[in-house]
């Protein structure tokens, strides 16, 4: 029998793979800055992560008898891997990456049916699982932001030394892990404020947390991701709803509470340019599969993440909260979609047509 093909017959050459690759391309400024600030460890993380991700993806596709080439070339696993690589501590040992990617690709993505079906952002599932399972490694293996080129006190590892440490756990003689690492700016502020040890002004005086805009070091990374994100917006790769509502809510809440108690609340700029805020706002929260899809839903979704980031950073048990906030809003996305359906043409006209 003749099989009917349905209109339309016009198609522009769009594809999921092209979209994914464009996003990856626009992450490069942020990644380069992150390597510059935190050392080669980030690079090692990303490469390890990509290798693990692609091999997990391939084996699951093989087990499930799916076309491997079609799905591998959609680059979605690649993007997940890169986000995990950037998000992990720069000095993360290889097995941390391995476990993270395992959970991301196998559990959070493929068990749900692969691309398009996962309910939760795979990279964030990985991050959250690692954070609650290996809190020590996840919080302490942050290399002090030292700017590779300036080589302050020689306290950075070279590429080879970094590989040696992350794969085999061997540090160069006379260097200890403590001398390399320090708490993140968000962590420093949180610990000081919640224990009542210091006020914002006192932390500022110590000079190890605040940079020009936000957290010392991380502000540059955030700025680079912001640039990449703005280009994505301009190119129409993502819609404005999620990043704008996320950043606006985070900024508004920190402004609101900050104006009450200046001593214990860092400025909105600090919130916006510390931790993984920009990475989260433009590259993680905008993951279309797990986000809300209606225009209104996307605004609520972004605002929800922004609010949760602020709440958990300020009153919760973790210094940064992108992963938890994104996961919690992932849970709400189906319900948001359901309750924020746009008014369809020709429906509910009575209140509309009276213009």
């Amino acid at each position: 029998m003749f099989l009917a093909q349905s209109s339309p017959f016009l198609k522009p050459g769009l594809s999921v793979a092209k979209m994914m690759r464009a996003v990856i391309l626009l992450m490069i400024p942020g990644i380069v800055t992150a390597i510059y600030v935190f050392g080669y460890g980030i690079l090692v993380n990303i490469i390890l992560s990509i290798i693990f991700a692609l091999s997990f993806e391939t084996s699951i596709l093989y087990l499930r008898n799916r076309p491997i080439k079609t799905y591998l070339s959609d680059s979605s696993a690649l993007l997940t891997a890169i986000i995990i690589g950037v998000a992990l501590p720069p000095l993360a040992p290889w097995w941390l990456t391995f476990i993270g990617v395992l959970f991301a690709i196998v559990i959070a993505k493929q068990l749900y049916g692969g691309l398009g079906y996962n309910t939760f952002n795979p990279a964030m599932v990985a991050y959250a699982i690692l954070l609650i399972s290996f809190p020590a490694q996840m919080t302490t293996y942050w290399q002090t932001p030292t700017m590779l080129l300036s080589q302050v006190d020689g306290a950075t590892l070279s590429l080879l030394e970094s590989i040696n440490f992350q794969l085999f756990g061997q540090l160069p003689a006379n260097v200890s892990i403590d001398s390399l690492t320090s708490a993140s700016p968000l962590g420093i502020v949180r610990t000081a404020i919640s224990s009542g040890a210091a006020t914002i002004a006192e932390i500022d005086a110590q000079g190890n947390a605040f940079g020009m805009l936000g957290g010392i070091g991380t502000e540059w990374v955030n700025m680079a991701f912001l640039v990449g994100g703005l280009v994505m917006l301009r190119k129409g790769l993502i819609s404005w709803h999620i990043p704008v509502s996320l950043l606006a809510t985070l900024g508004f809440l920190s402004l609101l509470f900050g104006s009450f108690e200046l001593d214990s609340n860092p400025s909105p700029l600090f919130h916006l340019f510390s931790g993984a805020t920009m990475l989260g706002a433009f590259f993680i929260a905008t993951d279309p599969v797990t986000a809300s899809t209606t225009p209104k839903g996307r605004i609520f979704y972004g605002a929800g993440i922004g609010a949760l980031i602020y709440i958990i950073r300020t009153w919760g048990g973790y210094p940064d909260a992108i992963a938890f906030s994104v996961l919690i809003m992932n849970m709400c996305a189906p319900l948001l979609d359901y309750y924020t359906q746009p008014r369809v043409y020709g429906h509910g006209l009575d209140d509309h047509q009276e213009q």
């Binding site: 093909q5 017959f9 999921v16 979605s76 020709g346 047509q353």
Partner: protein, 584 residues
């Protein structure tokens, strides 16, 4: 007209001060119209055989009024409208009806339908046409003299249907509009689909016909406002219509015809979108434009109305855009309804070896033909003969990544991603809850989808399935009623039977009792005389019954008497009949 002039006209069109609204979503497409809109309208030859389907409109198929072997003239009625929503079909050429049979028709399924097939002759003699007006009459006055009844009857008899693609019988539409309060007549001249230029060329070459047709429709619906919506990428057509309108000075008391350029963005020519752009109003879901006082007609329909009223000609031909990479000279050609597409292509000149697809209609909403041996119908506005690589063959579909590009481009503000999700899972109830029936199948979502999912087909599938389910449900309800009725009937029959059995039994019992009594009486009779009266009674009864039987027998014999004095012939016939009966 040169390009520079065009630009200035386009500029004026843009600057024309009309308050316009806009519709959400939509996509910008390459027009691909310049290939076919330059030349004049050519005329296709009368083919040797015309294949005219009986169903070329929404509603009941027409009923054939000719027989095989009948000689028909051009324009003669072949099949009459069947019911209120139907349209007659006319012979598009003179000749002999050689068959009324099922033949392949242009339809996405590639299935057959009932067609009247005419072997044409060389004379092409017209049937007696009876126009209401002639071109010599001055337009406004003569139209004024016509009654609504006259115009609608003429339109109904000419078999005019919505030629923009809806194929709704125009007379029926006008009839409803007449009864309702209609304040705006919108003429759809947007023609937003790429490649198609038949409306454009019609407006350029025959603007007077269009305007007169519009005046006729306007007269019938009695609209207070008349707007022609035209996409701003058709400066020549705009100019031509303007010039034609200025030829007919309407009295100031009459509502003027306004030509309104609308921004070229697909699907601006969709009825609902055009209404929204021009008036800011929305047609209620599952309602009609009439519900908000608007009636919409296509320019080509207006021209057909002109033909019917001024020439008396029924709708037996239409302008078809033949275009696409495989066509040597893309052009607009006036083709008789029923002409096989193969003959049209032969005449226009097509590189058969280059053909990839033959699409009837535009590339966004048309359908690909399984065969070119199907006739041109009233719906055929465009034949798009694409060559390899012209229309991208979509790569295999990937899973939906919920990027929402489809919902961003949907002019109806639907959520295609959700409808697709549920249509794919066959959760039709949910698909319906997401208003899949409001989908106009414009194809924007499929076009925008980076995963290349055939969304429109999913929605068509879902709609078909839901309708079918509804149909089956109705059928099941009828079946249940019939079944319950049957059970009831059987129950009644059973009760009646039981009742009858009971009565019989009672009677039997009575009789027995009576017999016993009788026996008793007989034995007692000798002994006693007191009961004699009873015995006499029963004896009387018996006597009466015997008498009755005798009378009956006599009557029967009396009836029989008509066979007593028969002729020999009659007797023989009776004997023969009896013989046959016994054999059987």
């Amino acid at each position: 007209m040169n390009a520079k002039q065009n630009n200035t006209i386009a500029q004026t069109m843009k600057e024309a001060m009309y308050k316009l609204w806009s519709f959400p979503g939509g996509i910008t497409l390459a027009g691909n119209k310049s290939q076919s809109n330059k030349e004049t309208i050519s005329t296709a030859k009368t083919p040797k055989q015309l294949i005219i389907p009986l169903s070329q409109h929404i509603g009941q198929p027409a009923e054939a009024v000719v027989k095989v072997g009948d000689k028909v003239l051009k324009g003669q009625l072949l099949a009459q409208a069947n019911g209120a929503i139907s349209a007659p079909i006319h012979a598009s050429g003179s000749g002999i009806v050689s068959a009324i049979e099922e033949h392949a028709v242009p339809h996405p399924s590639g299935l057959v339908a009932l067609c009247i097939i005419i072997d044409t002759d060389d004379y092409q003699q017209w049937f007696d046409c009876q126009p209401l007006l002639s071109d010599a009459d001055t337009a406004e006055h003569s139209i004024h003299n016509l009654t609504h009844e006259q115009i609608t009857t003429q339109i109904a008899q000419a078999g005019i249907v919505g030629l923009g693609g809806a194929l709704f019988p125009s007379a029926a539409k006008l009839h409803t509009a007449e009864q309702k309060q209609t304040d705006t007549l919108i003429i759809n001249a947007a023609e937003c689909e790429p490649y198609i230029t038949c409306d454009d060329v019609l407006m350029r070459r025959r603007p007077e016909e269009v305007i007169l047709g519009i005046l006729l429709i306007k007269k019938v619906v009695g609209a207070k406002k008349c707007l022609i919506g035209i996409e701003d990428n058709k400066p020549e057509a705009y100019q031509a219509l303007l010039a034609a309108i200025s030829g007919y000075k309407l009295p100031h008391t009459e509502p003027q015809i306004e030509i309104i350029p609308v921004p070229a963005r697909y699907p601006a020519g969709g009825e609902k979108q055009l209404i929204q752009v021009l008036t800011g109003k929305q047609v209620p879901s599952r309602g009609l434009p009439m519900d908000i006082g608007i009636i919409c007609h296509n320019v080509t329909t207006a021209a057909a109305v002109y033909q019917a009223v001024y020439r008396g000609e029924p709708l037996i031909s239409r302008i078809v855009t033949v275009t696409g990479g495989a066509v040597k000279h893309p052009q607009n050609i006036e083709v008789l309804i029923g002409t096989p597409i193969r003959e049209v292509l032969d005449q226009v000149g097509v590189a058969y070896n280059k053909i990839e697809k033959v699409i009837m209609g535009g590339p966004m909403m048309g359908f690909s033909l399984p065969s070119i041996d199907v006739p041109v119908t009233k719906a055929s506005n465009c034949l798009l003969i694409s060559e390899q690589g012209e229309l991208a063959t979509p790569p295999p579909a990937m899973p939906c990544i919920r990027c929402a590009r489809c919902s961003d481009s949907c002019p109806m503000s639907l959520l295609p991603q959700q409808m697709y999700w549920y249509a794919k899972a066959r959760d039709l109830e949910k698909a319906n809850a997401y208003n899949v029936f409001d989908c106009i199948e414009c194809g924007c979502c499929s076009y925008a989808c980076p995963s290349n999912i055939p969304l429109v087909q999913y929605f068509r599938y879902a709609k078909n399935e839901i309708n079918n389910e509804q149909k089956e449900r109705n059928k099941a309800n009828i079946a249940r009623e019939r079944h319950e009725f049957r059970l009831e009937r059987l129950e009644k029959a059973k009760q009646a039977k039981a009742e009858a059995a009971r009565l019989r039994k009672e009677k039997l019992a009575k009789k027995k009792a009576l017999d016993a009594k009788k026996a008793q009486q007989e034995s007692d009779a000798t002994a006693s005389d007191t009961d004699k009266k009873d015995t006499n009674d029963s004896a009387d009864l018996i006597q009466e019954a015997i008498a009755r039987a005798k009378v009956k027998k006599a009557q029967q014999q009396a009836q029989k008497k008509n066979t007593d004095n028969l002729t020999a012939d009659q007797q023989r016939q009776i004997d023969e009949a009896n013989e046959r009966r016994s054999i059987e």
